[in-house]
């Protein structure tokens, strides 16, 4: 369980990184925290010629507030988000999600951008950022483009990233004081990937109400519906949403996804 031989570069600028990532003559992979890529390298599921470590690029490691939104660099670790100490218009939501990711050792190295780019359907950010209505800012040699979080992950390990592109930052809209948030994972043990995720944000000030069913072996299912976000839509409704996923028709999967959603809705309900 050792990787194939590969070259390693750690450029200091985004431009330099994008130039390396644009090479088509060899297999190039971007790496940040290496919490998913590392095991895949060791299992030889990925056999790159070159790894481009993007963690020395200062603009990818910053957290800032901009026009009421929190802008998180792709290489910010879960641990940094968990620990706080940054201006936080999300009212602690990112910190709370981050604190539930895997174990602290993983959070110390794993990054928000890496998690999104890897696009494991069970990953926390993949569902949570959709529920928050975040935007994923993607960088490529010609500039930047923003993708709505609900559009970004398209399937299992599949995203809107084109070859040579990387996630640069994540913009999370501010939550108003009236906003209510619910986030529930089904894990068999602490630190495990989620088997079913429910995430709900109701923010009347923004006229935003979204319920997300996550960890569905595909892109998370987002429903913008005040009624759903306010009250348990029932197991049959969830079964209907899952019908077109690989989990459709599996009574246990329907049950745990329904329970996760319903409990997230309850968390997001006024006391």
């Amino acid at each position: 369980m050792k990787p194939v031989a590969f070259d390693y570069e750690r450029p200091a600028t985004l431009d330099a990184a994008l130039k390396l990532l644009a090479r088509e003559d060899i297999v190039v992979k971007a790496v940040a925290g290496s919490q998913s890529l590392g095991p895949m390298l060791n299992l030889r599921l990925v056999q790159p010629d070159l790894l481009v470590d993007i963690t020395a690029i200062s603009e990818l490691t910053a957290i800032r507030e901009e026009k009421g939104a929190l802008v998180v660099g792709a290489c910010v670790t879960h641990g940094q988000l968990e620990d706080g100490g940054y201006p936080d218009p999300t009212r602690g939501v990112l910190a709370k999600v981050a604190a539930g990711i895997a174990y602290r050792a993983v959070r110390n190295r794993g990054t928000i951008g890496g998690s999104l780019a890897h696009a494991d359907p069970a990953a926390d950010w993949v569902s949570a950022l959709v529920a928050l209505g975040a935007e994923i800012v993607v960088a490529n040699p010609t500039g930047r483009r923003a993708v709505a979080a609900e559009q970004f992950v398209t399937g299992v390990f599949e995203t809107k990233l084109e070859p040579g592109e990387i996630v640069a930052e994540i913009r999370v809209p501010a939550l108003s004081p009236e906003a209510r948030w619910g986030y529930v994972k089904n894990c068999r043990k602490a630190g495990e990937f989620s088997h079913a995720t429910g995430a709900v944000l109701v923010d009347p000030a923004r006229k935003f109400a979204r319920a997300v069913i996550g960890a569905v072996s595909g892109a998370p299912i987002a429903v913008d519906d005040v009624a759903v976000a306010a009250e348990d839509p029932g197991e049959a409704w969830v079964a209907g949403r899952l019908a077109d996923t690989p989990l459709g028709g599996d009574a246990y999967q329907v049950r745990i996804h329904h329970v996760a959603l319903k409990r997230a809705i309850r968390e997001a309900s006024p006391p």
């Binding site: 050792k2 030889r44 089904n186 043990k189 602490a190 009574a251």
Partner: protein, 787 residues
């Protein structure tokens, strides 16, 4: 104990801290993976991607010729397959070539060994080897392989059974005809992996000066590995030295001769450089460390009070493709037949037990061996009887357990229970868990909608059983006298040498405590040399919860003989007769005079002119042997009580409380006993709730990383309350009993019964480990469908 604070409270029974922790907790141990030898090459294996196939050809690219080795190379050099046969009636022999010989029988079976300067480069070479396979029908399901095999795994057999045996006592058919209560259960225990912190690994080197192979390997039994290696390689045993350095847990996986050990040893013997293989986790999970996988069909007959009258059972153990050395593929199934009656007092019994070959990795005896599955089966049955007769589960156990007044007791399968008060352990566990409070809480219901339940698991565990028992199994290893060497050093310190190995058992501490008990030497001055065939007396090794009994007894015997020799020298120095002196607190004393051991040592080694003329020329170095008063072993026992909360919506289970009431007899070190119990319970929780190695219909393992093979972590192991009973064993040196495996035996039973207690109102029941949320959910759904 008379002298100073250091001499006090470090003998048998003292809860002193572990000596080995200083290096182990600071990461300063020396494990196989820490060893580097000049010129050493790393081995990577080409492993079979198929579960059952004939090998048509193995093609090595020309640039790697000379770096890749197959069974053809080994066979040409005269290497013999590992052969672990048993003389049990109904058992069949099979060969296990270290590299596949024309055929592969499980996914992960080593086919070729590749050598390079680094492991990564060796893996590159392994990836370049092309094997042409002809696929054969795969046997995955245990019962199907036993009854309707798709192919023969070992062609020279008529079927796929390593062993079939029947144990009969009394007249079960007569009981079946007249018993008013009949309870039947089908119980499954999943295939597991052992997952010690350290996997397997070894460094092999040939010493040209000594003409000796040195294999430094993560093993529990260096002397048995030496014996097996010498047989396979055709070497004199004196030409093989096996060393176990620091070893990071064994649990049974390191109690076998590995094919990889044979290969590494042969390569080092054949080539001009040392070789090393370090198992990675993927190899560990898919290829080697499998265990358990039992299935039971059990029918119990009882009277209307819940008194067990008889047991009629069948048990299947899925042994995988090969018979492991030295315990064989038959031992675990044979154990099922002999220990299914558990700690209970009844007279009519029949058990058919099968060891089934399948296209899966061989199973290896894992902490508790068959007892964990057996305990689950019998304890689910006891709760079934309680339900059938409308009594509390503990009441049914109290009337069926062997009562203290019948001790020592010979049970229905001729097991000799040495001592103890089994019912009292149940009473104490029920009191500690506060059963009435739980019953009241259940009536009230939980505010979060969960259902709580309480469950018991009771067992007794045979340990340190010896010659007569193992001669009966007829396997390649029969333990006899355990030996220890005690050597007083010239400065008055003590070296102990034992042939077994400590890899979590704390023997560096507990055997020093035993020596202190006899000789009064400060524990800090006692050093344990262990796990090296070149330095220690023969031992079958550390297995079967035997070390405290056997090595403890042997060290005591050696220290007693040493004490006698010291007394004779000391008496002479005191100008007294040996019968006029006494030995106390590390010194020979007569009246007000005393000669400490350090002075006696100084005289023997450095001032022999002062010795008596008739001094024992053997000096201050003694090798002594020990056996308990009976070969039948000690029986420690315990009652585990668990309280769980079950989420009826998702099937999730949380352990709210866990109590162990156990009897280790006299504890050499109570803190060490607690540690053993706690570690075992953590593993048992894994068996109960998390761990499973599943296979698809083609025999592909479906859990090749820890993302899929779930282990309990710290958050999943609740605080465990351990209460001790201390009934001395009448057959051992200090009254100690073996307890190393016990913690891992009862958790599936206690937790399973607790889940079923929680589900009782719903009419649902779980019987198959691990009790995953999905299995609990499905059990609840099944009731809904039935209604």
């Amino acid at each position: 104990m008379a002298e100073g604070p250091m001499a006090q409270g470090m003998g048998v029974g003292a809860a002193i801290r572990r000596r080995e922790d200083e290096r182990l907790l600071k990461g300063r141990g020396r494990f196989v993976g820490d060893i580097q030898l000049v010129g050493m090459k790393e081995i990577a294996f080409v492993r079979s991607p198929l579960a059952h196939a004939r090998i048509r050809s193995i093609d090595v690219p020309p640039e790697h010729k000379g770096a890749v080795f197959t069974w053809a190379d080994m066979a040409k050099a005269g290497v013999k397959p590992i052969c672990a046969s048993s003389k049990l009636p109904g058992s069949k022999p099979s060969d296990h070539p270290a590299l596949a010989d024309g055929k592969v029988r499980f996914v992960g079976e080593p086919v070729a060994a590749c050598l390079a300067r680094t492991r990564a480069e060796a893996e590159d070479i392994a990836a370049s080897v092309v094997i042409d396979f002809e696929e054969l029908p795969v046997n995955v399901d245990t019962i199907e392989s036993a009854t309707r095999p798709k192919s023969r795994i070992h062609e020279h057999w008529g079927d796929n059974l390593f062993l079939e045996s029947t144990v009969v006592a009394g007249d079960i058919d007569k009981i079946a005809a007249r018993a008013p209560v009949k309870v039947t259960r089908t119980v499954r225990m999943a295939r597991q992996c052992m997952v010690p912190l350290e996997g397997r690994g070894m460094v092999a080197a040939w010493d040209r000066q000594l003409e000796q192979l040195t294999l430094t390997t993560a093993t529990q039994m260096p002397h048995i590995v030496r014996q097996g290696l010498a047989e396979c390689l055709g070497l004199d045993q004196a030409a093989v030295r096996v060393i176990a350095p620091d070893v990071g847990g064994g649990f049974g996986y390191k109690g076998i001769l590995l094919p990889e050990e044979v290969i590494a040893a042969w390569l080092a013997r054949t080539l001009d450089h040392p070789v090393r293989w370090i198992e990675d986790r993927r190899e560990h999970l898919v290829a080697a460390a499998n265990a358990r996988e039992h299935r039971y069909e059990v029918t119990a007959y009882a009277d209307r009070d819940g008194r067990l009258l008889g047991l009629d059972a069948s048990g299947w153990v899925d042994a995988g493709a090969y018979s492991i050395y030295p315990f064989t593929a038959g031992l675990e199934a044979a154990q099922v037949g002999s220990i299914l009656p558990g700690p209970y007092d009844f007279a009519h019994y029949r058990c058919r037990a099968y060891s089934v070959a399948t296209n899966k990795p061989p199973i290896v005896p894992y902490r508790g061996v068959a007892r964990t599955g057996v305990c689950l089966a019998i304890e689910l049955i006891m709760d079934g009887i309680a339900e059938a007769v409308g009594r509390e589960p503990h009441e049914v156990r109290l009337i069926n357990l062997v009562p203290p007044e019948k001790m020592p007791y010979v049970n229905v399968t001729k097991k000799h229970f040495d001592s103890g008060d089994y019912p009292e352990s149940v009473r104490r566990a029920v009191a500690a868990i506060d059963l009435p409070a739980i019953r009241a809480r259940q009536k009230k219901g939980e505010p979060d909608g969960r259902r709580i339940g309480v469950g018991l698991g009771v067992y007794c565990e045979q340990a340190g059983h010896g010659t007569a028992v193992y001669h009966g199994w007829g396997i390649p290893m029969v333990p006899g006298h355990e030996q220890a060497q005690a050597r007083l050093t010239p400065d008055g310190g003590l070296e102990l040498r034992v042939g077994l190995h400590s890899h979590g058992q704390s023997l560096e501490t507990t055997l020093a405590q035993v020596a202190h008990e006899i000789l009064g030497i400060d524990v800090a001055q006692v050093r344990l040399v262990h796990g090296d065939t070149g330095l220690t007396p023969f031992s079958t090794g550390t297995w079967g919860s035997r070390a405290a009994i056997m090595a403890g007894g042997a060290v005591a015997a050696a220290c007693k003989q040493l004490r006698e020799r010291a007394i004779r020298i000391g008496a002479h120095l005191l100008q007294a007769k040996p019968e006029e002196v006494r030995f106390d607190s590390g010194a020979v004393r007569a009246g007000k005079g005393s000669v400490p051991l350090a002075e006696i040592a100084r005289v023997w080694y450095r001032a022999p002119q002062l010795l008596p003329a008739d001094v024992d020329p053997g000096g201050l170095e003694v090798t002594a042997g020990y056996k308990p008063k009976s070969d039948q072993g000690t029986f420690s026992y315990a009652t585990h009580a668990a309280v769980v909360a079950v989420d009826p919506e998702t099937g999730a289970v949380e352990i709210l409380d866990y109590v162990v009431v156990e009897d280790a007899g006299v504890m050499l070190n109570p803190m060490v006993v607690d540690g053993q119990v706690l570690g075992g319970v953590a593993q048992g929780i894994g068996t109960a709730l998390y761990e499973e190695m599943p296979f698809d219909a083609e025999g592909q393992p479906l859990a090749s990383t820890f993302a899929d093979y779930l282990l309990p972590g710290f958050p999943e192991v609740p605080p465990v309350r351990i209460l001790h009973m201390m009934t001395p064993s009448p057959i051992t040196e200090f009254g100690q009993k073996g307890i190393g495996e016990g913690g891992g035996i009862a958790p599936p039973a206690a937790i399973g019964n607790a889940i079923n207690d929680a589900l009782k109102g719903l009419g649902a029941r779980v019987t198959d480990t691990p009790f995953t949320p999905k299995r609990v959910f499905q059990a609840i759904q099944a009731v809904g469908t039935k209604r």
